[in-house]
């Protein structure tokens, strides 16, 4: 059996792991396979996104903030589904919708998370994030 490809794959994965460990934001615990495209998402504050919705609409963005579940944030109703939830940073709050794999539940209210996804507008013109990836950071309780 030719084991060379496996060795090369292992080496590449090791290198990737090294860079992920040392070059990623240090607070993030990488719990999911990193998608190349998602890694290009630029971090923005929620106020930046809401202030200039047209600029960021349909763009891949990332937000770091607190998971609030269905309560708090002092913003209008969820724009898409009844299960939409809120992320809040120091500048504001926004609803998030979509399938996530972080397993967030009410136990996680208040924990720090990173949401990567697209900024969209609901039919009521409420800005929201279509989540593509949700990561609990290492500082999460």
């Amino acid at each position: 059996m030719n084991t060379a490809p496996k060795f090369i794959s292992f080496t590449l994965l090791s290198c990737a792991g090294f860079f992920l460990f040392f070059l990623s934001p240090p607070a993030i615990s990488v719990t999911q396979a990193e998608d190349e495209k998602l890694n290009t998402a630029e971090y923005h504050s929620i106020a930046e996104l809401i202030k200039d919705v047209q600029q960021f609409k349909e763009k891949l963005i990332a937000i770091r903030g607190q998971y609030l579940g269905w309560r708090g944030g002092d913003i209008p109703h969820p724009g898409i589904t009844r299960s939409d939830w809120i992320i809040k940073d120091k500048t504001g709050a926004i609803y998030v919708t979509g399938k996530t794999s972080a397993g967030l539940s009410e136990k996680d209210i208040g924990v720090e998370i990173i949401v990567k996804g697209k900024l969209l507008l609901s039919k009521d013109l409420i800005p929201y994030i279509q989540a593509l990836e949700v990561i609990k950071t290492a500082t999460s309780k």
Binding site: W70, H77, T81, R82, S83, D84
Partner: protein, 511 residues
């Protein structure tokens, strides 16, 4: 004289109607509209949809509507709970609400997550608006297994009430509330969940004896929820419809409302079939005690929902039936699919949830996502089936260090005195290190006795797979069915794998 007979006849007929529970109205459609949360504005919209139809002599539309400070300020921005007999074109104002709930006062702050609040509303609705059929719709958020506080049992819940500390109505509390309603009054005919993610086996099992029909969604629901204007118009147009008919209307109108491209689902469940379905699921769970990697592949490919711990039961069973070669597992999977078909009598899904068939089941892909409070002390389904035991097996399964697969000879029926053809044995070392083990051939004779050869020491390099062609160079004389097998053991005698095949020796022919 004639008038006396007429009066007597009328009194007798009226008494007979009461005794048989036949009332003037066909349906009382009760909506437990818990908008004491971020869904308040959608609650207002849905009330107006109901009012676009309004109650009539055959259909009472009764609503308990709880609101919240903040969010919507419409219709006087009242913040407590009010009850309404919804009339055509009515708006949800306090002035239009019922001023006396039977205890001398009307609207008040209530905890919609308290089962007693649900009991009070439904019993009040039955007492004041008697009908032949009762629909109870729980309007709110629906969730997974979750708890507001870590100290509480985590349980699937509905009806979050933010001004009552974020309390929610747990599935077992819903069961006890429905039981009380049935004991004190009559059974609810149709139980609906205008909420996310409630179209699950576990939810249906919890209420299976307490209503005739359940309507719920496997996936999340859009904020607008059910289209009350169209579904109530259908009910008003044909008030004699049965609970099944109404459930079909709800599912179809919901589907029409959001369209085939929406990420929505809705289904109608015949609760009388839940025992049959759970029996099939139990057998399926018991049968799945091997083929772990194939089952994992089926799980990974199954239709998931916004909570990825929920998968479509039928789709999973279908993937198992085609992905696993074990006939016992295949048959058990097919039986589950048949039982789902018999239980779900109306179903809608949009293309994003293309593999939905009406009932989801709890099956986190990894143990990290599994909630240990999914057990029989919290809800009934894991208590009465082996599904949680199957999940435990699935998560704690460890691949043997070495595994083997035997491919039987091409001909497995030979004449007496004949030789068995060649067969192959494929051995795999599932670790990264060289591993030594023993391989022992054995034969189970037609009379049930077993003979075996001395174990042979074997060795595989790390991650190595080796295929060996074997030939047994001795004739088989006695007619009957034999089993030829190979058992792999470690140095301590622990069994690593055991695989075998059958062959038959026929009489009458010899070399």
């Amino acid at each position: 004289m004639k008038s006396s007979v007429f009066v007597l006849f009328f009194v007798l007929a009226f008494s007979l109607c009461l005794a048989q529970g036949v009332y003037a109205a066909e349906w009382t459609f009760m909506v437990y509209l818990d908008a004491d949360n971020d869904l308040e504005s959608y609650g207002v919209d849905d009330f107006l949809e109901m009012a676009s139809v309004g109650s009539d002599a055959n259909v009472n539309i009764v609503v308990q509507f709880d609101r919240i400070p903040g969010y919507s300020t419409a219709y006087g921005d009242w913040k407590n709970a009010q009850r309404f007999l919804v009339a055509k074109s009515m708006t949800p104002t306090v002035a239009n609400a019922i001023s006396d709930w039977g205890d001398g006062s009307g609207g008040r702050e209530v905890n919609m997550a308290d089962p007693q609040t649900l009991i009070d509303f439904v019993k009040w609705g039955m007492d004041n608006y008697p009908a032949n059929n009762y629909a109870v719709i729980l309007w709110n958020h629906g969730g997974g297994w979750r708890s507001p506080e870590l100290t509480e049992k985590i349980n699937k819940a509905i009806c979050w009430d933010d001004t009552s500390g974020g309390d929610s109505l747990y599935t077992n509390e819903l069961q006890s509330a429905l039981q009380t309603i049935e004991t004190d009054r009559v059974q609810v005919t149709l139980l609906g969940f205008d909420a996310c993610l409630m179209g699950m086996v576990e939810v249906a099992y919890e209420v299976k004896d307490l209503a005739t029909v359940m309507v719920g969604s496997e996936e999340t629901e859009p904020g607008d929820g059910w289209p009350y204007n169209t579904l109530l118009a259908d009910l008003a147009a044909a008030p004699a419809m049965t609970a099944n008919d109404l459930a079909v209307v709800i599912v179809n109108r919901y589907g029409q409302s959001y369209g085939p491209n929406s990420d929505t689902t809705q289904s109608a469940i015949d609760l009388s079939m839940m025992n049959t379905l759970s029996y099939a699921i139990n057998n399926f769970a018991v049968a799945m005690d091997s083929n772990r990697s194939e089952i994992a592949a089926a799980r990974a490919a199954s239709q998931e929902y916004t909570y990825p711990q929920h998968i479509d039961l039928y789709h999973f069973a279908g993937l198992v039936s085609t992905g696993v070669s074990d006939p016992d597992i295949q048959n058990a999977a097919l039986n589950v699919m048949t039982a789902v078909d018999s239980t779900v009598f109306a179903e809608f899904h949009g293309t994003p949830s293309a593999n939905s068939h009406g009932l989801a089941i709890y099956f986190p892909e990894t143990e990290i996502s599994f909630d240990p409070d999914y057990n029989g002390t919290v809800i009934d389904f894991p208590a009465y089936t082996q599904w949680d035991e199957f999940l435990n097996w699935f998560y704690n399964f460890t691949e043997p260090v070495v595994t083997q697969t035997i491919t039987p000879p091409s001909v497995t029926t030979i004449p007496s005195g004949g030789l068995l053809g060649a067969f192959t044995v494929t051995l795999t070392n599932n670790t990264g290190s060289t591993y030594s083990f023993y391989s022992r051939d054995y034969t189970i004779m037609p009379d049930g006795t077993t003979t075996s050869r001395r174990p042979a020491l074997m060795r595989l390099r790390g991650n190595e797979t080796k295929t060996i062609t074997r030939q047994i160079n001795r004739p088989w004389v006695n007619p009957g069915t034999y089993t030829y097998g190979i058992q792999l053991t470690n140095a301590q005698g622990g069994v690593l794998d055991d695989d075998s095949f059958n062959f038959t020796v026929t009489s009458g022919l010899s070399r």
